[in-house]
Symmetry: C2
Subunit: 260 residues, 2 copies
């Protein structure tokens, strides 16, 4: 709605006020894992801005350090943004509290260890520790994962507000898939654990457990990703639970329980 | 200079164009490690903006996800910024390439492991791995360290452009300190290694080695931080060199050398 107001105002008073902020943010949003370095033309095209506007705003972002230029003169995301983002409680703050325990889990198991939070309709990967020899997975820190097709995603969706969850599930097609997911999430809530197996790109299985904060609400999920199948993965269940409980304790959860 | 123009223009044409972007960025810059959650009044005061302006711009940043509100209604840095910042080549990109080797170093030594890059006149900490039992240090990921008073800082300053380095050193007072630092940086360049000892807040010693990228330029520094003193620290010299060389190789440095 606010955007609507801004847009209609813009027609009468060109260049005024906050829409400029949205345009600057759209320049940042133009970058992606497949587009980490962009020339001005590509940047303005991806941001949906005229080149002259992109050029002017890019200069501001460069000066502040939100953008930098690489050796080829292309624009890349700058260190200053990393510095500011490191203050985000739901990513780096959580990571700081969790990292020592994630490292223990990683060292004990020599498998991939993931830490994720829910952001909107997806899971956002906050940390990933990997061994040289572990199975190949494509997840990267800062990347997004589908809620219903990953272990951490299932844990986060199972813990979401019931109204939100119902709405999310109802969007699934066909309705039999929605029904299956609804049952599955109930199991995840009961067990305080999700086991998720998939065959592509490589056959892997993940075991995920919720992390609770002060007030017992689920704030994140930790998982281990091992070569399939599920029976082998089940052997990691206890150690992942222990890791999640240690992190929850550190975050101030009181009756740290592994069951919901 | 550009900012000066913007400010003078602002007097004639209030609210026009890019200065708004600078104001929005100043809201992000208002956060710090001691100020991770801010109410609107504190936020507007720290950003140097009238509350009405801060309120309007904050709404935009909230909507985009650069800011979020915590359980107490205070503003905090949002996950969306973490997501965008994860695309920065000089922080997360470097981190992705370095992390497996940093983990090896950490597991072998059970000591703090730091990864830093130079940003302006300081070192920026891109990664830190710590053991439960290691000596207490205050450094945090995303935090800044002085170039002349840390191991990684000395390595990065020693590798900086000679003109920049000379200017940096000349700013030091008294001139005897500048002379000492100049000699020390020459030693660091020769050895391809810095050993830095300090007594406060806790007596620690770090051993730092440069990481090279494609084209052999120094792009980062890795260090290990152990309880003082330097003699004990020297025992870690070879393993830190091996780590730096492995990372450099991964980054495409050809004649990966430990000496400058």
């Amino acid at each position: 709605m606010e955007q609507g107001n801004g847009a209609s105002r813009r027609g009468k008073r060109p260049k005024s006020g906050e829409p400029v902020v949205d345009r600057a943010l759209s320049l940042l949003a133009a970058f992606g894992s497949e587009h980490r370095a962009l020339g001005l033309n590509e940047l303005s095209r991806r941001a949906g801005l005229p080149p002259s506007t992109a050029s002017r705003l890019t200069a501001r972002l460069l000066r502040w350090g939100a953008l930098e230029r690489d050796d080829h003169g292309r624009y890349v995301i700058g260190l200053r943004l990393f510095e500011v983002a490191s203050l985000a409680p739901r990513s780096h703050g959580l990571r700081e509290a969790a990292l020592p325990y994630l490292e223990d889990l990683h060292e004990i198991t020599r498998q991939h260890v993931l830490l994720a939070v829910r952001d909107g309709d997806e899971a956002l990967l906050v940390e990933r520790l990997s061994a040289h020899g572990a199975v190949e997975i494509a997840y990267r820190v800062g990347g997004r994962l589908p809620l219903h097709e990953t272990g951490v995603g299932l844990v986060l969706l199972a813990a979401a507000d019931p109204g939100y969850r119902a709405e999310w599930i109802d969007r699934l097609e066909p309705s039999s898939a929605a029904l299956r997911l609804r049952r599955r999430l109930a199991e995840v809530r009961n067990a305080g654990l999700a086991v998720f197996e998939r065959q592509r790109p490589a056959p892997v299985c993940s075991v995920a457990v919720p992390i609770r904060g002060r007030g017992e609400q689920v704030v994140a999920a930790v998982s281990i990703v091992v070569p399939a199948g599920a029976r082998k993965a089940r052997a990691y269940e206890q150690v992942v639970r222990a890791t999640a409980m240690a992190i929850s304790r550190g975050l101030g959860a009181r009756g740290t329980r592994s069951h919901a």
